[in-house]
Symmetry: none
Subunit: 216 residues, 4 copies
DNA sequence: TATGAATGAGAATTCATTCAT
DNA sequence: TATGAATGAATTCTCATTCAT
């Protein structure tokens, strides 16, 4: 049964979806590598192996393409955050795992950092125009609030810790090191991306965050 | 008294220097606002109130102009760092002042952040090509080492604190908040730049840093 | 009879080919008139009645456009050389006809001379980069060899005549007169391009060449 | 005695002359290398080791500079031609020597060839504007006439030889080979400038010219 | 859905030339 | 005589975008 009645159309839709996705990935890489201003529609088409005209067909123009890429990047990280399951862990362990997750995600998704930089260079107008912006909010803030609360309750954490501030700090400690890796390396004359350097950074960040929240 | 013989030359030299400086400032603003890829030589000339050709006369091309701007930005921050005089302060106070200084400098020089982002987008090739790159190294690392050492000695600080890691963390806590201010604000639906928000951030950062280094 | 399914594509291909050809001709004229350095891409587009961008679309840049023009110029003269059919003629007649052909071709294709001059000014790098350079070799050298051989055999020609040297000499006699026509005219104060002067030159050249090869 | 009364001025004049000459040589090399359209005033100044403004001071503009260079080039070759002293030689020897001289001069002064090509590309307007154009006429035409006449008289040369045609032919045989050396070499896949190739060419040219004029 | 051809507005860079001293 | 600073008008080349099919 069920030979679908409009196979051609379905085929096409699948193709369409696939094409859109291919473009999105190609665009993400191009934007990440060159920034919004430096990205080239030609190169995106080439990377995607598709005709340039098709990009306009699906995404209207460069700006909206960037917006789509940005939203997708947020959707991707949120999806991984969902997997974290911090709530059943001991507060200290949960925090430590969050620091590790953030670090590893940035490390494995360097494009995320440059995309955010581009978005901020343009004052995040690509997000403001997105009605879905608020949906991109991290559920981690709430989770973090609960972790802090539990730590507070069991006497291990200090009081007065703002989840948003803590979230921003955790992100910032990884972000700056990785995003500014090139200038830092050039100026310090020292490769910050060796396995040893990376592991030292991770330890340091955990100590900073836990040193801050832990009592005594 | 005849017309003095040298002023002619001096005038000229001053003019050349002044022109170069004017261009440098105009370029810094343009690059900061639009990134390297988005910056326009035309606009830089216009901002500087000078002929576009003159930019090429002094700086060869866009790339080298960016390099010059970047080096100047580092020289500027290093100069302000020199004024800090942290060594005569109590270790804890010195650290707190460094956090404040970093925060304020980034706040007052938002162009510094975007310039660094641009430089990193291009993998800092503008610094690597600069023979002076190493000279742009912050003297704060050494200072920080001494502060940590003194804190350790007087029993107020914990041991095993790496000055470079600490420096990067202090910078990162401010940097991320300010550089990503737009995306963060859009996503949290909340203005992070109100006086209140800013003061809260500064307090939080001091607590994080001191919470980490202070004993007990 | 429905609209045939392929013409669309054919139309398109024809258009592309036609555009490329139109550009090539316009470029040839512009390069011939102003040299490589003096040619203007704008004027080429104007001459072709096509968008300037299209030139870059098809030919990459000015250098490669010049290379394409040069190759086409060689292809054109070679094609006419094919029509010559010298082999069935008496050796003396064949040589005379070759001198006439060379003279007339240069006369009717003055652009060929200036294109070659431009190519040589740039040390023929446009040919060296062309893999097809060797294919542009004149088949006349071989033909000339056979003519000389036949003349030798029937006792009318002297021995020891190198086909390549002879070819170069035949070309040189016409080339110099026509290519340097303007300076020669200015210096001798005499118009070298009147019908009478032209016919005298042609006679002279035939006499020189035949005086050289003919026995007795 | 006789310390000149205005030494400063004389000094200056000598300097002025020297500067003008330096510029002329630098310009000649630049024009020869890049053609009129491709030559750069900047590079000429650099080659001359003098300020660009000075070129304008002495030569008004690029066009007039080219004109000056061209006239100088003619003056140079005419001067060498003067040294030839062909009139006391046997007609055949005189002719042979003229072919050799032409060949060697072009060989040693490749810039002369490209300068002429540039001049002709621009339809010799730089000569027409020169009132001295006629003075650049080669005295060799007259000399050649006398040689031919003497050859005719002693029965060694054929009759009806036009000195101008012969002069042009002698020049053309060398000129084409040397000026088009690069394209010829590329197309024949063979280096035409080896000592052997050069000596063969010279022999060939002598044979052509003498084969033409000599009786029987 | 997909594509090759075509374009106008602009962008970096170049160039001959002039200014001011 | 000599020069460094400055400029306006090109000039090559680029780019996002649209046409036509």
């Amino acid at each position: 049964m069920s030979t679908p009645p409009t196979p051609v159309t379905e085929e096409r839709l699948r193709d369409a979806d696939r094409s859109q996705n291919t473009i999105l990935i190609a665009a993400r890489d191009e934007f990440a590598e060159h920034g919004l201003g430096g990205a080239r529609m030609d190169r995106i088409a080439e990377r995607a192996g598709l005709n340039k005209r098709l990009i306009y067909y699906y995404f209207e123009d460069k700006e909206r393409l960037f917006q789509a890429v940005l939203e997708q990047a947020y959707r991707d990280i949120r999806e991984e955050e969902q997997q974290l399951n911090l709530l059943h862990l001991k507060p200290e362990t949960a925090l430590r795992r969050l620091v590790e997750f953030t670090w590893n995600y940035y490390l494995e998704h360097p494009e995320f950092l440059t995309l955010l930089n581009s978005a901020n260079l343009h004052r995040a107008r690509h997000l403001e125009q997105s009605e879905r912006a608020r949906q991109l909010n991290s559920p981690l803030i709430a989770t973090l609030g609960e972790i802090i609360e539990r730590g507070r309750a069991d006497g291990s954490f200090r009081g007065g810790v703002d989840p948003l501030q803590l979230y921003v700090s955790i992100a910032g400690l990884s972000y700056f090191y990785l995003s500014n890796n090139h200038t830092l390396s050039a100026i310090f004359g020292r490769d910050l991306m060796t396995p040893k350097a990376r592991s030292e950074r991770l330890s340091h960040m955990c100590e900073v965050i836990l040193g801050y929240v832990l009592m005594s």
